[in-house]
Amino acid sequence: MAEIVCQNIKKNYGAVEVVPDFSLHVEDHEFIVFLGPSGCGKSTMLRMLAGLEEITGGQLMIGGKVVNDLEPRDRGIAMVFQNYALYPHMTIRDNIAFGLRRIKVPEHEIKSRTEDVTSVLGLGPYLDRKPTELSGGQQQRVAIARAMIKTPDVFLFDEPLSNLDAKLRATMREEIARLHKKLRTTTVYVTHDQMEAMTLADRIVLMKDGQIEQVGSPEEIYERPVSRFVASFIGTPAMNFIELKVEQSGTEWFVVGEGVKLTFDSSRFDVSVGQQVTLGVRPSDFEAVSEVTDRTLAGECDLIEYHGDQALVSFRVGSVHLHALVAARQRPSEDEHVLFQIRQNTSHLFDATTGRSLLKQ
């Protein structure tokens, strides 16, 4: 078991800077998820942890040891790849045992350990097959088994579920969560799927352009996004944004825009009068009301997506399109005039130019 310390890690490909400066402290037993859009450097970061990419600058420590120049095998890690990366010419058994063979683990021990790992993952019946004879989910399980058998200090997952279909993905996600609960091995998991991140992570590292945008528990990230980027990345359906201007009248503070005037609790935010801000409201934080208040938005409903228990109402306020999630039974009909109220203390304000959250810490 080990903790991971990244200090000012840099990565350049020639003149191109992929990771300018990355610092992070991963606790022992922790499940960390690197989340971000493609090309944000999360995979590169993971591959540097694994030792598959050279580290241009900074220091990386795993288990208290500087590992910058160590080969992958000397870092105490195991890795699961997106496309499984099973050895196509070996049986499942040999795939799993391949790493142990190198360190000359006695054959009988390999056998018992293989059986342990495969019984956990339910791979028993497939041991003598070749990878191509297995389904995608089974292959991914083999890849996990191959990583597990080495009893590494750190597990690294590189988008392990993105090649699976939606249903299988949910099952596997659950399995990984359970496995971690059982093994408690420090884990770094890369994904672009917020759902995986939210359900698996102890802490999410949200990355953008090679830099950490926010680190925090799923709850923190969801509820207190530090930037408009984070807010927009997390949560489905996505958060609504409206460009507004801060105004004050007496003790009342308002954000004002085209056909919009809303009051807000100024004690939650660091704002000044006249500041251009972006108001962020999650669709689920709208509630349908019948009376106009200073927290309501009025608009024309133009499309309704029926989700079963809920419905996503798309409506237009001025020139902005907004979405509200309502109980399916209470959904309006299309082309209707609708009125939505923002729930108390759920709105977010971001600086319109920097995109940083204006929420007081």
Binding site: R73, A85, L86, Y87, H89, R146
Partner: protein, 269 residues
């Protein structure tokens, strides 16, 4: 419909263009000269094994067969030992230098054989190695190494990088990754490449003609000499020799065909 029928007939005709001469040659290998040298082609005749036995009983044929096998297999072996690693290194390190190396390897194919044969003849004569198997192996390895490199690069490129990375995470060093993962995974494509280089040197004629007299003489040379055996052109014997010489490359037909299928199927991805 009519055009389709015409097209199909044309295809059958083309297949006949390939097969008929070859089957005809095979038939002729079992004819005596009197059945061969007839103004009207003879389809019915008393088959004779005289030609085949004559060819097989020739000391020179045996010697040449032995030479061909030793020389071609050794040259292909050199191609394997030196060519495959180089191809791997090029496939895994795409940069300016390896690109230039790749082009250099290809450009060896531009060398006119006669421009290689004449100087090599003088060189081997001067070194006292003329007409030895060693000199032939070395000369042919120029062909086998370059062809092996050229044809194996795509084979290695098709091996997913992640598999090699998984092996590195599993603790293997770069050389072990090459030997235990890249080689076996790419094996089928590589076999095709090696088969191609074998066929190329097995069929090679001009270098063998100019660089050997007797000790290292290969089968194509002996086959061509058969045309002047004795006083008459022994067409029956010649046909038998042609049949014998063609068998080894044709045995590799399946391997090469699947190599082609593989190389072009991958492009589609």
């Amino acid at each position: 419909m009519i055009t389709r029928f015409l097209g199909k007939s044309l295809l059958v005709f083309c297949a006949a263009c390939v097969l008929v001469p070859l089957l005809w040659t095979l038939m002729n290998a079992f004819k005596v000269n009197a059945d061969l040298l007839t103004p009207v082609p003879q389809f019915f005749f008393d088959p004779t094994f005289e030609n085949i036995t004559y060819v097989l009983s020739r000391q020179s044929v045996f010697g040449a067969l032995y030479n061909s096998l030793i020389i071609c297999l050794s040259a292909v072996g050199l191609g394997l030992v030196l060519g495959l690693p180089a191809a791997y290194a090029i496939a895994r390190n795409p940069n300016r230098i390896t690109q230039e190396i790749q082009f250099f390897v290809l450009s060896l194919r531009f060398l006119p054989p006669v421009a290689v044969a004449i100087p090599f003849m003088v060189i081997w004569l001067n070194l006292g190695m003329y007409d030895t198997r060693w000199s032939m192996i070395i000369t042919y390895s120029l062909i086998t190494i370059s062809i092996t490199i050229w044809l194996s690069i795509p084979g290695f490129q098709q091996v997913p990088k992640e598999i090699e990375e998984a092996a590195r995470v599993d603790g293997y060093g770069p050389y072990a990754v090459f030997a235990k993962v890249a080689l076996p995974v790419a094996m089928k494509s590589l076999l095709g490449a090696l088969a191609f280089s074998f066929v190329l040197v097995w069929n090679e004629f001009m270098l063998a003609l100019m660089l050997t007299t007797s000790d290292a003489k290969t089968l194509p040379i002996v086959a061509s000499e058969m045309s002047q055996q004795g006083l008459n052109v022994p067409w029956g014997i010649l046909n038998a020799a042609v049949v014998l010489l063609s068998i080894p490359p044709l045995l590799l037909l399946g391997l090469l065909s699947s190599f082609l299928n593989r190389s072009f199927a991958q492009k589609n991805r």
